[in-house]
Symmetry: C2
Subunit: 379 residues, 2 copies
């Protein structure tokens, strides 16, 4: 992986709106695409889409559509002959077969052809679902990610992982399907509830321990500014997160190796989400707790200094993330973690930190994993 | 496309079972795979699979599973720790969401990981459905095609097109996902009902007009032997069909150009299937009628000599394929054909024959298409 250097900016840094806008490129040959970050003009970006088809279908949910649905539809009208909106229920529980079928049925009713484009307007659920719907419509239609949550902007909208959940586990059904563009409009984040915003910061923090210690230092220095949604700090955080994710994905699009490091904390996190019952913990909240567990596991098994795990705990606390985990018995923990996609032939593989700023995969004893789980207080 | 030469064999040609077995390679870089054709030893082929996972799930239907399910399960047992069978209802109507969900649920219950392998044991419906289930399980699991119908052996099992039907049209939801291997066992064809066998021959015949006039000549000469399921003739027909398909797919895996020629007759054929109501016409029967229409369209619009269309009609008749089409009014015809995946922005694109043995895409007047439709007698 070739990661562009991070030159920690001293904030307040940006003197104008234009300076905070950035376009990153995700380098995947024929599947390359731009990620625009900042206060964005959707109409201008729409004009820049190459070879738009006849039809655009905006997929959103009952929370986000009233905020931005009409604005996006208006921005797309000069470019597409037909611009439709499909509004789904909100929440992780609806990242399911029923919602997928609703999108496919709508496309069929609209007689969408292969060049129809889907626009995912919302958070990670809408993005994963809409991306998967695009992946399988006529064996591959185009889609544009318009992420409106911090978590989606810094993580799920970039990289082409799409899918739905089954009752047995998250993202068990899906596809690798890259978007044609990502429009990460920081303006959409002002309406985000505090809990969702903090959950997004968890995925931002993640990039430090796995890839960039200097970025982590900067996040510590800017924790108050970030917690207060200070726009300049936010712009830097989103941009750097996307840079790291783009570099990892470009090096390993289909997760044959390196990309697995992005799943740091996710074996624990997915188990926490499922164990608490979907909807009780936000994904980012589960990742925050999972990071604490994965860091303690790294201290116990892989030589990570405990002081680094302490720093991680402290930063997550300052950013308003939950400090305690739901109570689950050991057998339930292991069963949930074994269902994770990273496990092979029943053995559990964890992403650990042999050094601060560097991640690796390790198969570890159940006892060590359970000790790490117990290092986090119970709710 | 680089097509290996066809040296028309004089039958009876093969003196031993071994001589009729063949292994073709489909050349797709990292996604390359072998196609074995003949009287096959499944246990031996199973031993040759690289890096098998823990679990094999055989997907079949109520008609095929009783014939070959146990044999395949026994052949896989020495290779996989766990070999399960899932038996679905039979028929095109079951290439749907419900069957797809049944496969995914079973995989989840079995805690299949990414290296689990699906085996599609059956005809085109089982193959398309199982391939799609593999494509989306954990964003891409392996599958092996074990086609037991002639149509599946010469067409649908090769090339990686997978998917399900929607009420609005066939194969609207799907993925390109190449199998790890294709086992085209000619021994499975002896149990095939006469109608299904003849329907498979329609797809064999198709390769002549679009790619290989010499093969068509040979098919004319061997029509009686083929209609009588003479094993040597059948072995040649299946092998040459797979050779042509493999060459086309290798040149254009995701149907950005050339591969569309394989859809010769399918715009008409899909409309016939949907118009007659799924289950009334077999896919190959609809393709046979569609070929007659597409050939007449080529005569009317593209300079194909009428004598070639006459030859096609005569061969299809000798092979026992239907000679008359269901009655549909013009508006219904056009609506059904517009729903076809090849149409773009509402215009209908047809695969036509500017010359015998060569296919091309053309956008043609509705009037010309309807005249071609009317050239075939009504049932």
């Amino acid at each position: 992986m070739s990661l562009p250097a991070f030159d920690p900016p001293v904030l307040p840094l940006f003197q104008s709106k234009a300076q905070s806008n950035a376009r990153l490129a995700i380098a995947l040959g024929r599947r390359s695409y731009p990620i625009d970050i900042g206060r964005l003009d959707w109409a201008e970006l729409a004009q820049g889409l190459t070879a738009p088809g006849r039809l655009a279908l905006i997929v959103s949910n009952v929370t986000v559509d009233p905020l931005f649905g009409e604005r996006l539809q208006a921005a797309l009208r000069p470019v597409y002959a037909e611009v439709e909106r499909l509004v789904l229920p909100d929440g992780e529980a609806h990242k399911d077969w029923r919602s997928l079928q609703a999108i496919q049925s709508r496309l069929a009713q609209l007689q969408a052809d292969r060049r129809g484009t889907l626009f995912a307007l919302g958070g990670g659920v809408v993005g994963d679902l809409t991306g998967f719907a695009a992946a399988v419509w006529m064996r591959g239609a185009r889609f544009v990610q318009v992420p409106t949550t911090l978590l989606a902007q810094v993580d799920s909208s970039v990289g082409g992982k799409t899918g739905i959940n089954l009752p047995e586990g998250k993202n068990l059904v899906g596809a690798f399907h890259q978007p044609a563009a990502v429009w990460a409009d920081l303006g959409t984040l002002t309406s985000l509830p505090a809990r969702e915003y903090a959950a997004g910061l968890a995925e931002v923090v993640k990039y430090g321990p796995i890839a960039d210690p200097v970025f982590f230092d900067w996040l510590e220095a800017q924790a108050d500014a970030l917690a207060a949604r200070q726009p300049e700090a936010l712009a830097v955080a989103v941009r750097r997160s996307c840079e790291i994710k783009a570099a990892v994905v470009a090096a390993d699009e289909e997760e044959r190796g390196l990309r697995a490091i992005l799943n740091f904390a996710h074996t624990f996190g997915h188990a926490l989400e499922a164990g608490a019952g979907y909807g009780h913990l936000l994904h980012g909240e589960a990742v925050a707790l999972g990071m604490r567990m994965a860091a303690r596991l790294s201290v116990a098994c892989c030589g990570l200094p405990a002081a680094q795990a302490d720093r991680l705990d402290a930063l997550l606390q300052r950013l308003g993330l939950p400090q305690s985990a739901p109570a689950l018995d050991d057998a339930r923990w292991l069963a949930l973690m074994r269902g994770d996609k990273k496990s092979q032939a029943g053995r559990i593989r964890y992403v650990v930190l042999p050094r601060w700023g560097q991640a690796a995969l390790a198969e570890l004893d159940d006892a060590a994993a359970l000790a790490a789980v117990r290092s986090v207080p119970l709710a």
